[in-house]
């Protein structure tokens, strides 16, 4: 167990849990951004630099902005009111569900005989190798992702665009 991993795990889980618990949407979003940054830190720790930077760029840079925008745009009348939890029944139910799922997952992790190499080889995946792989074996996937992104962008614009007023102003 590495100390760095422990630290990352603490920050990550802490901010994620706080984000889910916070009654203030903006705080939630910002804490979640922190959690995403923590995930990037994990990638960095694991040696996947490129993915870490991509994670920061996409999540901290873009998704968090979109989330904040959404929060601000959906501000309701007297938004000063905190976002309350629903019934306790629901909260307890969800925690039990999550705990159950977690138990299953943990059981699976510890129950599976993982084929772990004795000493992890130093992962050296340069950007060049990554690029060659993306353009070689994964070229089709890359293209499809590109299409998905484009379609999602257009779709998001279409969905979020203001409806045209029924009668255009004279």
């Amino acid at each position: 167990m590495s100390f760095a991993l422990l630290l990352i795990a603490l920050v990550l889980l802490g901010s994620a849990a706080a984000a889910m618990l916070s009654r203030n949407l903006i705080h939630s979003a910002l804490l979640l951004t922190g959690a995403w940054a923590g995930i990037a830190a994990f990638y960095l720790w694991a040696g996947a630099e490129f993915v870490a930077f991509a994670q920061v760029l996409v999540y901290v840079g873009a998704v968090s902005m979109v989330v904040l925008f959404a929060v601000l745009l959906t501000r309701q009348g007297a938004t000063a009111a905190p976002v309350e939890f629903d019934s306790y029944k629901r909260v307890v139910g969800s925690i039990i569900t999550a705990g159950g799922v977690g138990g299953v997952l943990l059981g699976a992790i510890f129950g599976t005989p993982l084929d772990v190499p004795a000493a992890p080889s130093p992962a050296a995946l340069t950007v060049r190798q990554l690029g060659l792989q993306l353009m070689g074996p994964y070229a089709a996937a890359l293209l499809i992702v590109g299409v998905i992104l484009t379609v999602a962008l257009l779709g998001a614009i279409v969905i979020a665009a203001v409806d045209k007023p029924e009668d255009p102003a004279p």
Binding site: M1, A9, L13, A16, A17, A19, M20, L25, L32, A35, W36, I39, F42, Y43, A46, A48, V51, Q55, V58, V63, V67, F69, A70, L73, T74, F85, D86, R90, V91, G93, S94, I95, T97, A98, V101, G102, L105, L106, I109, L114, D115, V116, P120, S121, A123, L125, L130, Q133, L134, A141, L142, I148, L149, V151, A152, G155, A156, I157, I159, A160
Partner: protein, 103 residues
Amino acid sequence: MSMLQACLVLSSLLFCVGLAGALARSNTILVLLGIELMLNAANLNFIAFWRYGPHPGAGTGVIFVLFAIAVAAAEAAVGLALVIAVHRHRKSVRLQDANSLKG
């Protein structure tokens, strides 16, 4: 506990947090964020297996994560656009209020 297991435990805990949040909250944005968290937890697994798994040389895990990030970004964009659209029609971001197909 090996390093791989530690990473997997972290990932599953994160998944549980996301799951609990997505289930417990009724605000659409928060539900969406919980789902994002779960997605990220899954990504952690890929990196963990890539790094500590049996075949560290292959870049599959990394590339899969890259694709997952791209798709998650698209998902977030569309999801939040939906939230805004629903809010415009219903004046609410509560999940329970978006209960009919007709806008």
